[in-house]
Chain length 329, copies 2
């Protein structure tokens, strides 16, 4: 497998990424130094988060390398979105095994470049290393929020309504499509694959939620688990109405084709929508927000005093959620 | 191999590390959230850097897991030192293969805990993932410097003297000891192993150099390569006097035992000393500094106009440096 050395890789592939989205908020020195500088403006705090992806766990040989680059940035951007933060810059630590060549890396970097332009997000540093056999790609992302306003997991209050943005379950169904376990019309298949491979970080929503939501998290482990994290950090419980979980038209048709998947819906992960809680008195403000940013926000449950997350059907009967286990590739 | 799940690992092993060295400069929220907050004080800029270590490349099964934790922090602290920055906090991304169990992780975390206490460095976040086969440990570190004062690789000026702190070559010789390729008296062997496994980030020196040095880098790839980075970023060249490279007493005895290693001295890496340049007029200030912090600073060469780094012997004859290739395990 043809591959450049570390210095050529940095000069030819990564240094150009330091220019895309560059701003005075962060300096990369063209990746020619050991460190970068980040300067949050006065009155702002820096939000930092890290998420890694590994071949064989989060993607596989069949995944388009450009989509690996895009998804790597988007799952990290989703963490910023969930905090109500504006993106500033990112670091990349990449570990390359011998079987990953220049061609794969070029396509991966092209995916990064495309999304860096979309999200105004410069690469400001990192590390590139040889690996004995695994391919690992790790991003540390920086954003900022006005001091004291970062959205947290803790903060949900008794009586809050639980909302989720967009639609739920598309990514899990897209994974079944990717693995040839679900045959669908081409348009539905492409939609679900795109939801899996190119999630849409809800940055605008997150920023607007800073003054409305009590608690927020992104749906990566599934509604049940992620709402569980909110409850644990907030010292409360929750009840979710399974019938209220918002489904795309493609997901509705897909679930009709594989009805055995439906009991796992509240455990489907990787959608990167924002799950959040608001006081009942703020519902009209929230509805105005949904209209303004043209994104469906669906009420799916409420915060309760009994610990844990219960899922109920439309009639209020408790539903047992089947955890489908392996959420990734 | 016995191993906790991801949530137990975070709660039992990593959450306690968020408390060691904690300060108002960074908030981890007990690792119970997706993100952390970093707040550089007014007038300070945030320095960020990332360095990863991989089993089979940077350490191996024979390395004490506590030393892996300590070295992981120290190589990152060395990047801060080289910038003249004060440590603030770090993120850890850890990828665990199935053959790494609780026992290894506990000892690794104990090494982190020990150095976090020494360097007042809290863990504020990161990611923990399963790996198909490799063990990878990646740190993103945060420090701060007064705005506009970060030491850089670029900045060396024609006529500058080139200095290095401490001693050179110990880590490479320690690696030979670790691999049973160099038999030495126990005390020398232990000293060289310690220099390899527990490098000493020169934080105090770096902070004091902010007002003296024109350019700085840490010796990780070897004097020749690292001075080459300074020259490249500064648009100059350099001449190094090989006979001036400072050797510990143990290294002098070791080189007598393996004389074939000596021609590679300027290419020995992993020492994590600071290599820097100063104007000739600042030598007396520098000598006062060396005395104040009780650390030898040795003049090893000068910045020249001809591009590239030349190594010469005491008589001024050019020396061919033998690159020993594999610098790691």
């Amino acid at each position: 497998m043809q591959r450049r050395g570390e210095f050529e890789l940095i000069a030819q592939v990564f240094a150009p990424l330091a220019k895309i989205g560059a701003s005075p908020l962060a300096s990369s020195f063209g990746l020619g130094d050991d460190a970068a500088l980040v300067r949050p403006p006065p009155g702002m705090e820096l939000v930092v988060s890290a998420d890694a992806m590994v071949r064989g766990i989060h993607f596989d040989e069949r995944t388009d390398p450009g989509d690996v680059g895009r998804k790597l940035l988007r799952v990290n951007l989703s963490d910023l979105a969930t905090k109500g933060a504006m993106p500033v810059a990112y670091l990349l630590v990449a570990g390359w095994p011998a079987d990953v060549g220049d061609e794969w890396i070029n396509r991966f970097a092209a995916g990064l470049a495309e999304d860096q332009a979309t999200y105004k997000l410069p690469l400001i540093g990192g590390d590139t290393i040889a690996m004995p056999s695994d391919l690992v790609l790790s991003v540390t992302i920086f954003g900022h929020v006005p001091s004291g306003t970062m959205l947290r997991r803790g903060g949900a209050q008794l009586g809050d309504y639980v909302y989720v943005s967009g639609t739920i379950g598309d990514a899990r169904l897209g994974l079944l499509v990717a693995h040839d376990k679900l045959a669908l019309p081409a348009e539905d298949a492409a939609f679900l694959r795109a939801r899996l491979d190119r999630p849409n970080p809800r940055l605008r929503l997150g920023q607007d939620l800073r003054t409305v939501a009590h608690a927020a998290i992104d749906v990566s482990d599934g509604v049940l688990a992620d709402l569980g994290h909110i409850c644990e950090q907030s010292g409360v419980g929750a009840v979710v109405n399974e019938a209220a979980l918002p489904l795309s038209a493609a997901a509705q048709r897909a679930l009709a084709a594989v009805p055995g998947e439906r009991p796992g819906l509240a455990a489907f992960g990787d959608d990167y929508e924002i799950l959040f809680t608001v006081a009942p008195g703020d519902v009209s403000r929230l509805e105005a927000l949904a209209t303004r940013i043209n994104l469906p926000l669906t009420r799916i449950g409420r915060i309760a005093s009994e610990p844990g997350v219960r899922v109920v059907d439309a009639a209020g009967r408790e539903v047992r959620v089947e955890k489908r286990g392996f959420q990734h590739f």
